[in-house]
């Protein structure tokens, strides 16, 4: 017991918050449901085992998993408090997520051909996009779900990883996207591979726009643009893409009704509280009611916010754990981004560098877009908060991405170790 209360080691802090939260949930309104205790112990056991395996196998960066374990714990506690059955499902997804985490860690390490599959990534992505459009089910205004055997899957989650891999492969082997000169009127027109890359990237975003996944479209653009910034030497391509983004944004605002509505709601949600502004104002009520310290787990009323367990989970965290709790979540993501950038900087291989950075900024910007949205700092676009929001697709693919990042960190640190050994 003394060891657990000694919170100097990060893993113990995670255990402590789980113990406290699940005990509170057990006592809450005198429910005394012993399942709650069992699930709490389950989560603790799972995190401990996974952490032990990581340490034992010396699998690279040990903090990545700790940060994410804390985030997932907060998410599960919140979801379990909102709806027990969803909480249990989320714990199941967490188990699957951890399995996938190790699986992707080993598989990514095992093989070396990842940088040569650029056409596979593109092909898989577009097939998934087409499947979504054809079989897609409209949930909450976006056609981004396909239902397989009663289980809804959100393909755009896994496409995120394909997208990062696609761009990363390009920066390892740019020549692969080179198309032979096209003969027009006897002259031959050369199309640079960077133009092909841009065209393909915009096709991804085009599909997302067709599915009305505005948030993901913006996210893909930011990831694409950031990778361009880091890996391209010329300024021209950045400028052109920047201008295109601005034009796209203005065009969207002027001609796409949905986007205009969202911007209007962002500027003044109070005008139509009962209608379009309902979600965001409910979210603000929740955050405001929480204050700095929160109303306490189980003591708030986040149930009034529509979609609280997915897109608006952050508002529920702010209501019950306070703005300090919310800030803690933001800083955890900041730590995650920091570790990710560190890994990306230490690894030498261009492909691994791009993948590590791509995954990191995917996590980082997705966090900013959704948290900024629910607190009305930026217009609201519905995407999930990685590792925290309820949802199998989101949680499992996030863990796959994390496993890959973990594998790259192992490579990065191995190189470092070799270097130090060589020096000695």
């Amino acid at each position: 017991m003394g060891k657990i209360l000694n919170y100097h080691r990060p893993i113990r802090m995670i255990l402590l918050i789980n113990i406290i939260a699940f005990t509170l949930l057990y006592l809450y309104k005198e429910s005394y449901d012993y399942h709650t205790i069992l699930f709490g112990l389950g989560v603790i056991g799972l995190i401990n085992t996974a952490y032990f395996l990581l340490k034992w196998g010396s699998c690279g960066d040990e903090y990545l998993f700790l940060i994410v374990a804390m985030l997932v714990s907060i998410g599960i506690i919140m979801i379990y408090r909102l709806d027990k059955s969803l909480g249990i499902k989320q714990i199941t997804w967490f188990v699957i997520g951890i399995v996938l985490f190790f699986l992707s860690y080993f598989v990514y390490q095992k093989f070396n051909f990842w940088d040569r599959l650029i056409y596979v990534y593109m092909g898989c992505s577009f097939i998934l996009f087409l499947l979504t459009l054809l079989l897609g089910k409209n949930i909450q205004g976006a056609t981004n779900w396909i239902v397989v055997k009663g289980q809804s899957i959100q393909p755009s989650e896994i496409i995120k990883i394909f997208f990062v891999f696609f761009i990363a492969s390009y920066y390892k082997h740019p020549e692969k996207l080179k198309i032979p000169p096209i003969p027009v009127n006897g002259k031959k027109i050369n199309i640079g591979s960077d133009i092909v890359l841009s065209a393909a990237a915009y096709m991804y975003m085009g599909f997302l726009v067709l599915q009305r996944e505005w948030g993901s479209a913006v996210l893909f653009f930011i990831v694409y643009f950031t990778l361009l910034y880091v890996f391209e030497n010329g300024k021209k391509i950045l400028l052109i893409n920047g201008i295109l983004a601005v034009l796209g944004g203005i065009g969207g605002f002027l001609f796409v009704h949905h986007i205009k509505v969202r911007v209007d709601v962002w500027l003044n949600p109070w005008k139509d509280i009962a209608g379009t502004g309902y979600q965001i104002t409910q979210s603000l009520f929740a955050i405001g009611s929480g204050g700095f310290f929160g109303r306490g787990i189980g003591l708030g009323s986040p149930k009034y916010i529509p979609e609280v367990q997915t897109d608006f989970i952050f508002s529920a965290i702010c209501e019950e754990m306070g703005i300090f709790g919310g800030t803690a979540v933001v800083f955890l993501f900041f730590l995650l981004v920091y570790r990710g950038c560190k890994i990306a900087m230490e690894v030498e291989n261009a492909f691994n560098k791009a993948v590590a950075l791509g995954i990191t900024i995917m996590f980082g910007f997705q966090t900013f877009i959704i948290i900024g949205g629910v607190i009305k700092l930026i217009p609201m676009t519905g995407i999930t908060l990685p590792f925290v929001s309820y949802g199998g697709s989101s949680l499992t693919t996030s863990f796959i991405a994390l496993g890959i990042l973990q594998a790259i960190s192992k490579k990065a640190y191995e190189v470092e170790e070799e270097l130090t050994v060589a020096k000695e």
């Binding site: 809450y28 910034y229 030497n233 509280i273 405001g288 990306a344 980082g364 910007f365 607190i375």
Partner: protein, 473 residues
């Protein structure tokens, strides 16, 4: 390496974005949340109302003025004195929301403030209904009852306060309404649409021309300019810039001092003083007394106005005798009287003295606080002498009490209706007593009374002063 440098740029951008979230949340929490959370679409408000037994509101001697009782599943807000506190405590209705003290101290009354929700953790976990905090007013219930009786059947307002502390002892606005939920919901439409405006808290939100009561403020400026020993020639009528100004009944008082002019409320003398003081002085003294400024208070107060940009001579003459575009609240007039009584220091008015938890711990106390210095001690003493003369030997004789020196000033204010010539002036009286060591200050207004302040308002003030001083001997 170039690329790593750029990755650091990305990291910096991300840090800025994350910090902006934290900064925005903090800003939201500190400056925006209060208004947001109070929005009626926030279902939590209603939910808290249901889970917490709303706190009790007491007068200064622990007499219950509002309390909540459980009636089966629901709780009922009971106001034992019905209409009497409708413009102080207000109402707490599920349908129409909350007003005044019920609104302003809602968080306290439902016990939802900061730490107390943590201390109540046990109750919250077990779902037991808890009790909100209790609010203690500075009001003296017997005095409030007396004040209401004195103004019953008329329209207007009374404010009685302690000039040294700013505590409000009684505050009545007429007409009023029954704030209990059932009555409120039944009568809402006619209450809102009534031409008598029963929902208007006249004492704090009614805006009136101050009339001759404002001559006290002008006198303070005149004393400062050394006019106290001057002799004015009062012919009963004077023409300023082509506009004729008359005393009441056109009485000519002949050669009189400033003090005498205040006692008889000479319009001709004060309009001349207004012109002589000039624009700068008039603006300056009004602002020193709190015109065009917000008065911090426990319930909403309208801001008294001195709305002149450029003043003509007739404007200055009008302001000199408290007419023109000047508008004040009765509360503000009581504060002006108090500041004269309190050696030139205007105290912040106080309505809530303290808040206590259900266990009796004091959570908050409202301490007396200086708001403005309106004039020097010497000026205040000289002005007091002049106001004493006004009661002993002037228009305010009806406020005289044997054995107690009362200082006061009457006012018979012309308004938008008298302009049409239907003779319905506001009757005003402001004053305080005892002069030697003031314990109580009063402002009384009977709106559109058609009578003079000396006849209508001064006797009411006298009764209230007598009542309070006899109790606090």
């Amino acid at each position: 390496m170039q690329k790593n440098k750029k990755i650091i740029h990305i990291l910096v951008v991300m840090s800025i974005l994350f910090l902006s979230i934290v900064a925005y949340l903090t800003y939201f929490e500190l400056f925006m949340k209060e208004e947001v959370v109070a929005n009626s679409y926030n279902q939590r408000l209603r939910e808290q109302d249901e889970n917490v037994i709303r706190g009790t509101i007491y007068d200064r001697n622990m007499i219950v003025l509002a309390e909540s009782r459980l009636e089966g599943e629901n709780q009922e807000r009971i106001y034992p004195y019905k209409n009497l506190y409708s413009h102080i405590i207000g109402y707490s209705s599920l349908v129409y929301g909350k007003s005044f003290i019920e609104a302003r101290y809602n968080q306290h009354l439902i016990g939802a403030t900061g730490l107390s929700s943590v201390f109540n953790l046990g109750n919250q976990l077990t779902g037991t209904a808890k009790k909100g905090n209790d609010v203690h007013l500075t009001i003296d219930h017997p005095l409030q009852v007396k004040a209401e009786k004195l103004i019953a059947g008329k329209k207007g307002a009374i404010v009685v306060m302690n000039p040294a502390t700013g505590e409000i002892l009684a505050m009545v606005s007429k007409p009023d309404y029954n704030p209990e939920s059932e009555a409120l919901e039944q009568n809402w439409k006619q209450t809102v649409e009534s031409k008598e405006y029963p929902l208007l808290a006249r004492a704090t939100q009614g805006m009136y021309v101050p009339g001759s009561t404002y001559k006290t403020v002008i006198s303070a400026a005149a004393i400062e300019k050394g006019m106290e020993d001057r002799v004015f020639d009062d012919k009963g009528v004077i023409v300023i810039d082509g506009k004729e100004i008359r005393n009441m009944n056109s009485t000519a008082y002949g050669r009189i001092s400033l003090g005498r002019a205040l006692a008889v409320s000479s319009n001709t003398v004060f309009s001349r003083i207004g012109v002589e003081l000039g624009e700068e002085s008039l603006k300056n003294i009004a602002e020193r007394f709190g015109f065009n400024k917000k008065i911090p208070f426990d319930i909403p107060v309208s801001q008294s106005v001195f709305p002149y940009d450029k003043m003509s001579k007739t404007d200055m003459a009008a302001v000199g005798m408290g007419q023109g575009k000047l508008l004040v609240t009765p509360l503000h007039m009581a504060m002006i009287a108090s500041s004269i009584a309190n050696d030139g220091v205007m105290m912040k008015p106080i309505l809530v003295s303290s808040i206590t938890s259900p266990l009796g711990n004091v959570i908050y106390t409202n301490k007396p606080e200086e708001l403005y210095r309106t004039m020097s001690y010497e000026t205040s003493r000289k002005l007091t002498e002049m106001m004493l003369e006004a009661v002993n030997n002037g228009t305010g004789v009806n406020a005289r009490i044997s054995g107690i020196n009362v200082a006061g000033k009457t006012g018979t204010a012309e308004n938008e209706r008298t302009v049409k010539g239907d003779g319905s002036e506001h009757a005003w009286f402001i004053g305080f007593a005892p002069v030697e060591e003031p314990q109580v200050a009063v402002a009384v207004i009977i709106e559109y009374s058609g009578s003079s302040g000396g006849k209508e308002a001064a006797p009411i003030a006298r009764e209230l002063i007598k009542e309070w001083l006899s109790k606090n001997k």
